[in-house]
Amino acid sequence: MMEISKCVQKMKPSGIREFFDLVMGMKDVISLGVGEPDFVTPWNICESAIFSLEKGYTSYTSNKGLYDLRLAISRYLKNKFSLSYNPDQNILVTTGVSEAVDLALRAILNKGDKILIPDPSYVSYDPISELAGGKVILVKTTEADDFKLTPNLLKKYVSKDLKAIVINYPANPTGVSYTRKELLALSKIFVDNDLIVISDEIYDELTYDFSHTPLATLPGMKQRTIYLNGFSKAFAMTGWRVGYACGPEEIISAMTKIHQYTMLCAPIMGQLGAIEALRGSSGSVLEMKREYKRRREFIVSKLNEIGLSCRMPEGTFYVFASIKNTGMSSAEFAKDLLYKEKVAVVPGTAFGEQGAGYIRIAYASSMDNLKEAMARIEHFLK
């Protein structure tokens, strides 16, 4: 009998497996349960990748990623945020941000090291921290605080032996983001408690009401921040699997050590596509962002109108709506809505216990789909 590692046995399956399988088995479902853009990758990126395949670019790249891509990332961050990272020492190209999260956690955690993870949050932070031997402490965020981390809330959780924190903004699943002022207040706590901060900023381009501030640009933060970003969301490149991590040299080389044995390098096609993305896609990114913003206004206004209250999310393409007044649990609501109206949403509990009473609705779907889905949800609630 093969024995599976205890650590893996303990891991929860991603989200709620049963519901997942249910959705997959049904036809003609309008899915608002998707964590990726509905846009196809801009054509200049596809065309450039096709051309490089034709030229025979099909090999491994250096472990850290193509130098040209690291250089392009370095310039992009410099121009956009005045954030300087050296392409040789401070940047690692990964197979999506998912890999970067794994590498960062494994690079910093010793067995039993305490790490703070917001609840609710993206599904991987908690199990991967556990897998890396960390002791996860969930920071329970609430709707009363707009599901935000606040200095007051954090103060309840910090301790002398706390090592690190994961922060994700704009956040999946709540759409929450932070202004520079809010981040400054948080960063003081990070600095005072000497925390390593893993900052997942993959949705940064999808910030609608103010400009995004990377944590690493704040005083005292660069030397303690592992900045994670990638191409999936802003450039609609989820399937290309390209992300990157930037940070202090010792952390990036530690992450590179693991990366060279587990992944070797990110796929070259993806990397070449990413170079083109940074070179000439700002127009497409802005156009997609405008479209998302219109959908956001539409869906938030519609949801509140039909009785599912939700706050206006500052970013991403998610709305975290309360279903508390229906009396159903998140899972019941999602299952019932799927059966009766063929609309798929994700129960908030997939993202942690604090998601109970909420559903995540992704508006990365065409206006026509959103209108139809809202009509069906309205009908469902009657």
Binding site: G15, M24, S31, V34, G35, E36, R290, K302, K371
Partner: protein, 161 residues
Amino acid sequence: MKEILEILEKDARTAPEEIAKMLKKSVAAVRSAIKKYEKEGVIVKYKTIINTDILKDDTQKVRALIEVKVAPQRGHGFDHIAERIYRFPEVKSCYLLSGSYDLLLVVEGRDIQEVSSFVSERLATIDNVNSTVTHFILKRYKADGDILKRIERSNRIAISF
């Protein structure tokens, strides 16, 4: 309020109520802005894009691009002669261009004969029209920003985190 035009250009059927929600404006404000655009002629009309290639019946029409060299007229430039030409219902589009010829027309007819006779009998005989070159359109791939063939794409998985 220019964003209204952007929305309607993508989908002319978008209702004022929906536009109002998207732009966080009142329905009345959206309605009156649309009215104003219509009155000023910014919004010319609302039409449907039809891919006749799929119909494959006898209503299928033939289109040609026609290059026209004309002699401009004193006091009117090209406008007068252009109007003489674009008033024909067979002329679907008419542009004044820089380069080796002056006007570019899109002309539509039942068949090649009809287009040919329009060119030789109506167009080429107009005073000030010096010469024409006719290119029949064999296939339309993309029109006004819309790709006419349905593009296959992989289905996204229905739930992802």
